[in-house]
Symmetry: C2
């Protein structure tokens, strides 16, 4: 069976790719990465390195024009700064609105694109790295359980039952995803999660904070370097 | 309230656009058209003419790279011919598979793109011209009732309840959509439905056959010209 894996170059999707390679073999795995107009392309470079590491087919698509009207703080044309605080702190200030790093319906779009490509490539499964923590409270509505279930059904029905969407980590938290990745010898040194595009990860944006905590919960140091984070630096 | 309308330049979506303009006013309507790599761009040209007719904002996006691996017969790079017969005849020959004009998960992708753009433009509704006949039997799984319901839910949940998907014609058949369009004085002479890209519509592909029948059921001639169709020619 052939499987398509959504691969962003970050921790969750890289672990998901490693699991797909273990289960189906590299020859049956296609990794799909999408650029959406971020302030940098470090995630895409990481996704390329990961695909090369696993010797899987890698498809890249540029979806930036779709988001040209959004003022999400992650996007190159946005005048907003990327927040340097946890998701919990951002939500406390947001009056119930999504956080500024919410890219409008991005995950819905990514899954729909994946379904189109998977159907064209003869894949019967889409794997993606969704997990229990990735809604970050209510920061990302397109990571909610209700959304994932509805999208699962839409993909299955919209392809006449050919294709199924699977999120193997959906019952895990991010620390458990990293634990699974350590078992699988995932090359985390190749991955990139930080919202900023510096030479090193910033260590203080929402996604750096979550990543560092997931490694710390496993008692291991994150192999990438951080400009500003005492917790990880102490363990390195 | 602002509304985004999926506009393909065909009969159903143009009628849907006319209804949105009647209900919300042209200043609150944005039409969104997507090119997906067809053998011609006559639909896009029609969508442009329709948007100009109604003086609504018109956004165009090119999604062709997403479908570059598909061998759907509508696509420019495909070596397949577009069938010259009804959907019913095609399905009878297809052993339960989707017809050759099925573009993989196209409608799921279109709705997901619409959700991203609508969120960015401050729209609270997406209108689209789905109707009771548009699954053409089981020719198009991404037009089934189950698919539409699942996508509705995915859009609502994935945007934190900001956005809703509405298909005002979902209980109507195509002839009833045309009846509604005649009431609304829709400029059907500007629209294009034919899968082929000739100077005139072919009159013998699945979508021409359905379109001609919908006008005939209303006892009026379709205002566009057909190269090959006795039924419509007699009425013109």
């Amino acid at each position: 069976m052939k499987v398509l894996v959504l691969s962003s170059g970050g921790v969750d999707s890289t672990t998901c790719l490693a699991l797909a390679v273990e289960q189906f073999g590299a020859a049956n795995v296609t990794a799909l990465s999408m650029f959406y107009g971020q302030k940098h392309d470090k995630e895409l470079a990481a996704a390329r390195a990961v695909a090369a590491h696993y010797s899987v087919e890698h498809i890249e698509l540029d979806l930036a024009p779709i988001f040209r009207y959004s003022n999400c703080s992650l996007l190159a044309h946005s005048d907003k700064q990327i927040p340097q605080e946890s998701y919990a702190d951002q939500l406390a200030e947001s009056s119930g609105e999504p956080v500024s790093t919410y890219v409008p319906f991005r995950n819905g779009l990514f899954i729909a694109v994946a379904a189109s490509v998977a159907e064209s490539r003869g894949c019967e499964r889409i794997f993606y790295g969704a997990h229990r923590d990735d809604a970050a409270g209510a920061a990302y509505p397109d990571c909610s359980e209700a959304f994932k279930q509805a999208m699962n059904l839409a993909v299955c029905e919209g392809t006449g039952g050919h294709l199924r969407l699977e999120a193997p980590f959906v019952e895990m938290n991010k620390a458990q995803v990293v634990a699974e990745g350590l078992r699988l010898n995932v090359p985390y040194h190749l991955t990139w999660s930080c919202y900023e595009g510096g030479g090193e990860a910033c260590g203080v944006c929402g996604t750096c904070i979550d990543r560092i905590a997931a490694f710390a919960a496993n008692g291991v140091a994150d192999p990438i370097k951080y400009t500003d984070n005492a917790e990880n630096t102490e363990e390195n």
